[in-house]
């Protein structure tokens, strides 16, 4: 199967809600065969696990690549130099940056927009947006910058604005936009990296400012704190957002996505943490025992594996470092899986690395 055929099949699949389990499985197996044929490191990985297109019959048996591999290996079906776009991880954790190669952004964009419209925009055509993240020109390799640009271009009103420039957060512009939104009565959406909201809330608290954004407004955060701001526990964080902007917690949405995927997960607000997260019909998740890769019984906490058909050029099945538990309608995200310290007096990797980086 050629790349063009894969892209066509995926665009059709994304555009066809209500696809059955059997259809998902069939496409997952076709993609596995494609990736096995064209992605040499992935082929070696799969062979080592004894999984080949001849032996794999279920999407759940497609071998999932540890997310770290995106740092060490070139996981691409097309020659890397033929990629229209390369998204890279921010490189905040550990050494090296994970890379995802996209020979075309057609599938990524279709996947992103369908998910964003369904879960963030819902019935709305457009909404005025304020974006707390640098734009694509500043961060050409950031999948989030592209994501937010697409959101603004396709779903934002013309007066939407990026509020982070080369000099950092433009607080005056943000305050102006929030004030206008408050006065206009038109819903407003403030979108950005989770950590970007922390200094905003601090600045508002310092000035004793609060906003009461009009009904239908929403706050959208993603990505966690990543050491870029102080860590705040989720309940305090969403209480803080709700207090600062006058938006109820069930209109504070969190998107869970990663550079190593082409599809995102959403919740339906953070009235209760952690909320159930789910994605569209072309991505599925499993909760596995990290050691054996075997599915855990429903209700047990394990490590999340995502199977994203839209991430066709690289690897569709990835083993994350996120802990989760399957819940009705999706899964709950329980934070990062930490390698534990030794229970005795042996040095464990975490302590060793911390010392090496000090």
């Amino acid at each position: 199967m050629s790349q063009a055929e894969i892209v066509d099949a995926l665009l059709a699949f994304i555009g066809r809600p209500g696809a059955t389990d059997a259809e998902f499985e069939a496409l997952a197996l076709r993609l596995f065969a494609y990736q096995f044929a064209h992605n040499a490191p992935y082929r070696r990985f799969a062979q080592q696990r004894g999984r080949t297109p001849l032996t794999v019959r279920r999407w759940r048996d497609v071998p999932a690549v540890p997310i770290k591999a995106f740092k060490d290996l070139t996981l691409s079906c097309c020659p890397p130099e033929a990629a229209e776009r390369v998204f890279m991880t921010s490189g905040t954790t550990g050494s090296g940056r994970g890379r995802s190669y996209h020979p075309t952004l057609a599938v990524y964009d279709a996947s992103m927009l369908a998910g964003f419209r369904a879960r963030v925009m819902r019935e709305r055509e457009r909404i005025r947006m304020g974006i707390l993240f640098p734009d694509e020109a500043a961060l050409p390799n950031s999948s989030l910058a592209h994501y937010l640009a697409l959101a603004r271009e396709q779903c934002g009103t013309p007066d939407s604005a990026v509020l982070v420039g080369s000099a950092g957060l433009d607080l005056d512009a943000l305050l102006r936009a929030l004030g206008e939104a408050e006065a206009s009565g038109e819903p407003y959406a403030l979108l950005g990296a989770t950590y970007a909201f922390v200094p905003v809330m601090d600045a508002l608290a310092e000035r004793g400012r609060r906003f009461g954004l009009p009904a239908g407004s929403l706050i959208f955060d993603t990505g966690g704190f990543k050491g870029q701001s102080r860590e705040i526990d989720p309940d305090t964080f969403y209480d803080g957002l709700s207090h600062a902007f006058g938006v109820p917690r069930d209109a504070c949405l969190n998107m869970y996505g990663m550079t190593e995927l082409s599809t995102q997960f959403y919740d339906d607000g953070n009235a209760v943490c952690p909320p159930v997260k789910s994605g569209p019909h072309w991505i599925r998740s499993r909760v596995v025992d990290p050691l054996t890769g075997a599915d855990l019984p429903e209700g047990e906490t394990g490590v999340l594996v995502h199977h994203d058909l839209a991430h066709f050029n690289s690897v569709s099945a990835i083993l994350t470092e996120d802990a989760g538990v399957i819940a009705p309608g999706g899964f709950r995200l329980l934070g990062r899986v930490e390698g534990s310290a030794s229970r005795g007096c042996s040095v464990a990797v975490a302590e060793f690395l911390a010392a090496a980086q000090a």
Partner: protein
């Protein structure tokens, strides 16, 4: 097994007045609930006061021989497999620590037999040219007289789940006649308290000078009382724990930290013939399996020399075989999610390395299946020391010459402690010289890495000598005194 096991030993504090925190441990299909003492600030203060005063009034005046006898009797109880205390230890410790019964049984015996009278005397002789200095003034070589005393109140902060590990420092403190308060480790909260009670039974007066308790680490007020009351704090734990503790210890209080360590082993080509390689691999496997590499002395990497009849890769397979064979006799304990994740991360890092290379293996060969309770990775290129995933995961690194190894481990000087060596005598000493230079403090045979000998110097320090301060009567005082004697001319 639904009884509540009371942890600790609290002389002078009415048992019914003590708050308890119940912690349930589960392993091997059984549950053990342990009640940890949880003292109030006043009780903590009272406990420290009681131990300090009793130690001053009785322990300080006891002959060392009497203390040795009491420790010897307590050890004898715990070595006697028919003694109720020993039976309890064999029943409860596997559930509390998760180690298999055989490992616990063998480990208890091997640790406790280092605390019998002959070994205790050796422990004393190891640090004191004349152990009599602990009992009274002894003539000093330079002239005058000298005596040595431990801190009036010594606080131990224990850590980790290696059974009976706490006994090393507990015994050291008693031998130098310190009033002793120990904080139990959550992961193995029983042996120290049992041992203290056995000592109290053997010598009730000594038992009053020794307390074993618990508090939540970092929990302000109660911890502060203990840290304030102590004259010396001996602490075990990771860097973060130690740094936090050090920050809270008053400046004038001595602080003796023992941080986490990484061990490794070396196998020379002369040890790698077809007759010896198998048994050696079994010994190495024993070091890896015992306490699941949780102890500071356990090997996490093996450096194996090329040029022997058995190549490093073949030795790795011997080791894998030995680990597989051991697994049936000593099953691995059930891993927590974080532990499983650590192994998975360790394995996948090597798996990626194997895929990176153009050849089929890239010089990296992973032995053992994901589902096996052990993993061996064979690295064909000289690789610097790094921690394993613990719990029976070990890297075998091929080197052209063992002399390269000190360079590969030297960057981690701060973490070095034990090295197991299998080599001919001349090389053993040559290698030991290099290793001593980069901070290795203990060299043992393979198979003995997790069983340090009686009187060993933990982290290269003098376990007893480090604790004491000496009082010297200078020759001038002695000579001047002569002038004031009733018989003075």
């Amino acid at each position: 097994m639904s009884d509540l096991e009371q942890a600790g030993h609290l002389p002078g504090i009415p048992a019914d007045a003590v708050g308890r925190r119940i912690v349930a441990h589960e392993a091997w299909g059984e549950t053990v609930a342990v009640a940890l003492p949880s003292l109030s600030e006043e009780q903590a203060k009272a406990l420290c006061g009681h131990v300090r005063i009793r130690a001053r009034d009785t322990l300080r005046r006891m002959e060392t021989a009497r203390i040795v006898a009491a420790i010897d009797r307590a050890s004898a109880c715990l070595l006697d497999r028919s003694h109720p205390l020993r039976r309890k230890a064999e029943a409860l410790l596997p559930v509390v620590t998760g180690y298999d019964r055989e490992t616990v049984r063998l480990g208890l015996t091997s640790t406790l037999k280092t605390f019998r009278r002959p070994q205790l005397l050796r422990f004393l002789a190891e640090d004191f040219f004349n152990p009599g200095v602990l009992d009274g003034f002894q003539p000093a070589v330079k002239g005058g007289f000298v005596r040595a005393q431990g801190p009036a109140l010594l606080l131990h902060v224990w850590a980790g789940n290696v059974p009976a590990l706490a006994l090393w420092s507990l015994v050291a403190g008693l031998l130098v006649k310190s009033g002793t308060v120990g904080k139990l480790a959550l992961a193995e909260p029983l042996t120290a308290g049992w041992f203290a009670r056995a000592i109290a039974e053997a010598d009730p007066e000594l038992g009053e000078c020794l307390a074993v308790t618990w508090w939540k680490g970092g929990a302000g007020a109660v911890e502060a009382v203990f840290l304030r009351e102590a004259d010396c704090v001996m602490a075990y734990g990771g860097n973060e724990t130690l740094a936090a503790l050090r920050a809270k210890v008053p400046v004038a209080t001595r602080f003796l930290p023992h941080g986490h360590r990484i061990g490794f082993a070396m196998v020379a080509r002369e040890a790698l013939d077809s007759r010896r390689a198998g048994p050696l691999a079994r010994l190495a496997a024993h070091d890896v399996v015992r306490y699941e590499q949780q102890g500071c002395y356990a090997p996490q990497m093996l450096f194996v020399e090329r040029g022997g009849a058995v190549a490093p890769g073949e030795f790795a397979r011997h080791l894998a075989h030995a680990l597989a064979a051991t697994a049936s006799r000593h099953p691995r304990r059930r891993l927590e999610a974080g532990e499983a994740a650590a192994i998975a991360a360790w394995r996948s890092a090597y798996e990626m390395r194997a895929l990176e290379g153009e050849g089929p293996s890239g010089g990296t060969e992973l032995l053992g299946d994901l589902a096996d309770p052990w993993s061996v990775v064979h690295l064909d290129a000289a690789t610097p020391l790094s921690p394993s995933g613990l719990n029976r995961t070990v890297a075998v690194v091929a080197v052209d010459d063992l002399a390269e190894v000190s360079g590969l481990v030297a960057p981690h000087r701060a973490y070095l402690q034990s090295a197991g060596i299998a080599a001919a005598p001349a090389r053993l000493f040559r290698l030991a010289d290099d290793l001593a230079g980069i901070g290795v403090t203990r060299i043992s045979a393979l198979g003995r890495m997790t069983a340090p000998e009686a009187g060993w110097h933990h982290d290269g320090r003098f376990s007893l000598l480090d604790l004491v301060t000496v009082t010297e009567i200078e020759h001038s005082a002695e000579a001047a005194a002569e002038g004031f004697a009733p018989y003075a001319d």
